[in-house]
Amino acid sequence: MKFIKTILRGFFKPKPSPSKKFRLLFFLINFVLATAVVVTLHYTEDLVIFKEIKDTSLDWIMYWHSDFDPKPRIQRMALFEIDDKTYRRWDSPVITPRDKLKALIEAAKKGGANVIAVDIMLSWFSDGCLHQPNQTATCPPADASADKKLADYLHTINESEADETPIIILTRLYRPPLENGEVNDEAFLTKPPSFLDEVLKEEKNVFWASTFMVVDDDKMLRRWQLAPLVCQNNHLTVVPSMQLLAALAQLYATNNSTRQAAQVIRDFKTQWNQWASQFPCEPSQGTTLVQLCQHQACPQFTIELPKKARVSTQNHTVDLVGGRHTEKIIYRFAPPDNPAIMQRSLIDIKSAMNVLKEDVDVDNQIVLIGITHQESSDYHQVPIRAEEISGVYILANAIDTLLRFGQFKQQPFAKQVIVSAILIIITTLIFTYYDMAKASLFCSLLFGLLILLSMKAMHHGIEIDVALRLLTIQFTEFMLRFVGFWKFLQAKLS
C-alpha cells in the first residue's frame, strides 16, 4: 500500500517551477493558448483539412460502434437481393428482367410490406434503350410485354385506394445534359424519359425518388443528398431521396393502412415542386437547396418524422436545407468482411431467387429490392467495412439513420461552450503543472474519455467534436516545448 502511495505521489507531483510568479504566468499563457486554439478551430471547422479530420474521426468511432441492435429494438428492414446466385440463374441479364422485378414487388406486397423501395434504375426499356417520346429507339426491337406488364401493375397500385396498398418508391436515371457535344457537369441534372412515365403521370402511391450519393475524395461514401434539385422542362424540381420517402412512408403508415403516408408524401412533393418550378435551370443561383435558399425566399423545408412503436422511438425533425453535416449516414450494419458461421444479421436478407419460389413474411416492414451481385458496379467504400459494399446497403443505413436520429445533429451551442470551457481549463492545468510525458499521459486518458463520450453521443445522433481541439492543443504545447519556448521565457524574465 505504502509502495503504491509512493508511486502515486511521485507520479502526480507537480512539475517543479522556480516561483509562483512563473507558474501563474505560464498558467495564463496556457489558458490563452488553449482558448485561442478552441476559438480558431471553431471558426475554421469548414476548412477542407478540418472537415477531413472530423470525417476520419467519425469514421473511426463509427467503425468501432457498428454492428449492434439499437435499444429499444426497432423493426428490421428486409432486403430482396439480386445476388450472384439469382443473377446467374437468370442468365446474367444486363437489365433486371421486368417480369422478375414485377414478381418481386408482388411478393413484397403479398408478404405485407408497408414500403417497397426499388433501388434499380427504371428508365430503360427491356431492349436496353431510353426511348425518347415520338422517336424510334436505335436498339433492336425486343419484346416489350414485360415492360408493359410491370407498368400496368405499377399503374394499378398507383391508382389503388385500398388501405393496405404499399407505398412504392422507384428511382431512375438522372444525368447532366449534353451541350454542344459535351457533357456539362456544371449544369443541373436532367431526367431522361422512363418506360413508366406514361402510367405514372400523377404520383399517388408510387413515387419517384433520387439516390444521389456524395463520394468524398478518399472514395468513401459518407453522405447522401436528402432532396436534390433536378431540371425538368427548363424548370427546377425537387426530387426527394429514396431514404427520405421510405422513412416518411413507414412512419406515417399504420399497421392497417398506408393512406396517411401516401397523402403526406403527395403533399410534400406538391408543395416543394410548386415552389421549385418557378425557377429556371440556372446554375449560377446555386445547384442545391441550401445554395438556392441563400438567394431566394424558401418555404419551410422541415419535415416532422413522428415516433412510431417498434420503428422509431422519438419524434424527429429533418431540415432539408441543414447542409452537409446533416446528411451524414451513420452506418450500423453491412455484410461482414469475414462472416462467422451462422452470424446474426441486422437486416432480413432474402435472395430474390428464393423470394420468387415461395411466400415471404415482411409484415409492415420496409422492403428494399436491390442488386448485390459481384458484377454490379454499384459497390462503394464505407467507414465500417474494409471491403466495398453494395449501394442498397448504403440506402438501408441511410433509412436507418433517419429512423433512429432523424438527422445527424451538431451539439447545441450552449453545450459546445460548456464542453470547450472544461477542455480549456483541464488542458491549461495539465500543461502548466506537469511535464510533457505526464501531460501526454493525462491527455491520452482524456482523449479516451472523449472518444467514449463521442460514441455515446453518436448513439443519439449527435456529433461531439472536441478530440480535434484536444489534439491541437497538445500538439501546440509539444511544439512550444520542443523549440524551448518556456525555458527561453523563463530566462528572459529572470
Partner: protein, 332 residues
Amino acid sequence: MRNKPKVKYALVPILAILVGCEPSNPPPEKESGDEPQMPIVPPSPHQSEAHALNCVPVAKIHKRDNINQISIWREGKTVGLASRLNKELCAGDKVIVPNTLDQVKIEYYSYPPKEVRLSAGDSYPVEALSDPCGVLCKLTENIKGLAEQLTTGEQEQLTVVADRGGDDDEDWPISMSLAAAQGPETPFYLFSRAGAIELFWAGKQPPYQLEVTDEPGKTIVQETVKTNWFSLTLPNTESNQRYSLRISKKGSNEVYQKPLLFAVPPFPLDPKADPYEMFATLLAADCGDNAQNWRLEIWRQLHHLLDSPKKESFKGHLVADDFDLSEVGLCD
C-alpha cells in the same frame, strides 16, 4: 472491381476494455429427438398479445394461417401462442407445432439466411447465432490482418540482414533496422529469461566494438566482432533489468547506442495461438504515448520457428520496416 480486403482501423487495446465487448455465443448442442414434448397449454387472453422480448431475437415464425395454434416456450415456461405480433424467437426457445398444423417455417436472422421447416407435432429448440462482430472481434480481425500482411509479400530485403558489410556501408553510420528509426533513448523491449538475443546492424565496416553495460554502468559484455551480427547472452534478464547496448566501429568515437529493457509481455501469451498473430499484436504495442518496441524480441522469437515462407516474409518486413502501423489502422 472490388477492393481487396485490408486491415482497417484499430484502437489502443484499453479502449476495447473500456467500451466492453459483444461476446459470441457458441451454438448450443442439438437436443436429442426423443425428448418428451411439452404439453400445449391454452393461452390466457393477454398471452396472445405482443410480448416485449427481453432477449435478443434470432429468428421468427413465418406468418401463416392459424399461426396462433403454435406455442412458444421460453426458459421452461410458455410465453403463449404465436401471433402476428408475437412471432419472434430467442435462442433456446422451444417452438411446439400442434398435430393439426403442418409446414411451419422458422426463419433465422442469420447471415447467410437459414430456414427450418417443422412438421405437425414437432418440438423445435431454437438455435443460437453468433453475434455480429463487436469491438474485441474487430480488434482480433485487425491483428490477424496485420499478421497476414506481414507474412506475405516480397522477401528481397532479407539480403541486408547478415552480411559482412560492403564498401557502401563505410559512409553510413551504424544503425539497427529493428529500431524503426527511433532515438537512442527508446529501448528495445524483451521478454525475461528467453535465451540469447540475436543482434544485427548495418553501417560502417568490421571490426566492431560491442559493449553492454548494466544500469549502474558496469560492463557486462565487451567484444570485438568481425561480422555485423552477434548472439548476445546476458546474465540477468529478470523483469525491469535495463542494459545499455553500444556498438561502434573499432577505434571510432561514433557510437550507436540503444537501451535493452526486460519486461513482462504486454498481454498474456497463449502458447497455442498463431505466433504471427502474437507478433502482430506485439508490433501494435508500438503506438501512442506508451509505445513499446518489441521488434527485437519478435526477431528472437522468429529464430525459434521452423523455416517457412511466412517466417521469411515476416523477417523481411521487420527488417525493411515497410509497414505503417497507422496505415493499417493500428496507431489511430
